[in-house]
Symmetry: C2
Subunit: 130 residues, 2 copies
């Protein structure tokens, strides 16, 4: 795995602007509401079929689930297994890359759980002021 080469992340290292651009793009791509929620469910439940994911992710439409899964598959985050049977059976599971992204997002889920009340309080205060 030569993708890190000799940079084990130094936060003060000067970053190649091209890399920064690409990272920003990638952040924009994975920092998507549906991507995150699908990632969460696949991480929690393991291999899932389409319909099960649609039930697990609250409020997602079939169209967006299809689009999100395709994009995640293209980015190498999920693996799609088609069983050629009738009725169709398609299974989705996280790749190693997807799992590593899930772990990277762990901190955000913890944050959301830990600071939910603070955010709610801030919203109430803001709406009262405004």
């Amino acid at each position: 795995m030569p993708q890190s080469e000799k940079r084990p992340y130094d936060p003060d290292a000067p970053v190649d602007p091209r890399v920064e651009t690409l990272v920003n793009e990638l952040i924009g791509r994975v920092a998507d509401k549906w991507t995150l929620l699908v990632l969460e469910e696949l991480e929690e439940h393991g291999t899932c079929r389409f319909t099960r994911l649609a039930q697990l992710v609250p409020g997602i439409s079939q169209k967006m689930l299809t689009q999100t899964l395709r994009a995640m598959e293209r980015d190498g985050l999920v693996h799609r297994t088609v069983h050629p049977v009738i009725p169709p059976k398609v299974e989705y599971r996280l790749t190693e890359l997807g799992q590593s992204l899930g772990e990277a997002f762990c901190g955000v889920w913890h944050w959301a759980e830990a600071h939910l009340r603070e955010v709610e309080a801030a919203r109430t205060a803001f709406d009262t002021r405004g």
Copy 2:
């Protein structure tokens, strides 16, 4: 700060479904492209004015910058200081809550940097196959 009470995060604990819903909503809120990029710049550069942020965040429109900052302010992530002068001067800086979210997202930025190449390779492979 009684928001964690007696639960220092146990990943296997049964989660109150209402909490899960709220966490999902909150994730959907902060897992937004512009929120993340603004957070990143404010974390890196500290206090910033509107126009500077517009320059720092690549490709954001004024409308989206205003909306994003308002939403972040409402959620208690940024503090907005208005200096009543002409021409106007408004400064934005992360609150402690915003900083903690920035730290939580650190793992994602590291992930993006570390796995950029893998994602690019996966995309190329996907596009070639398909």
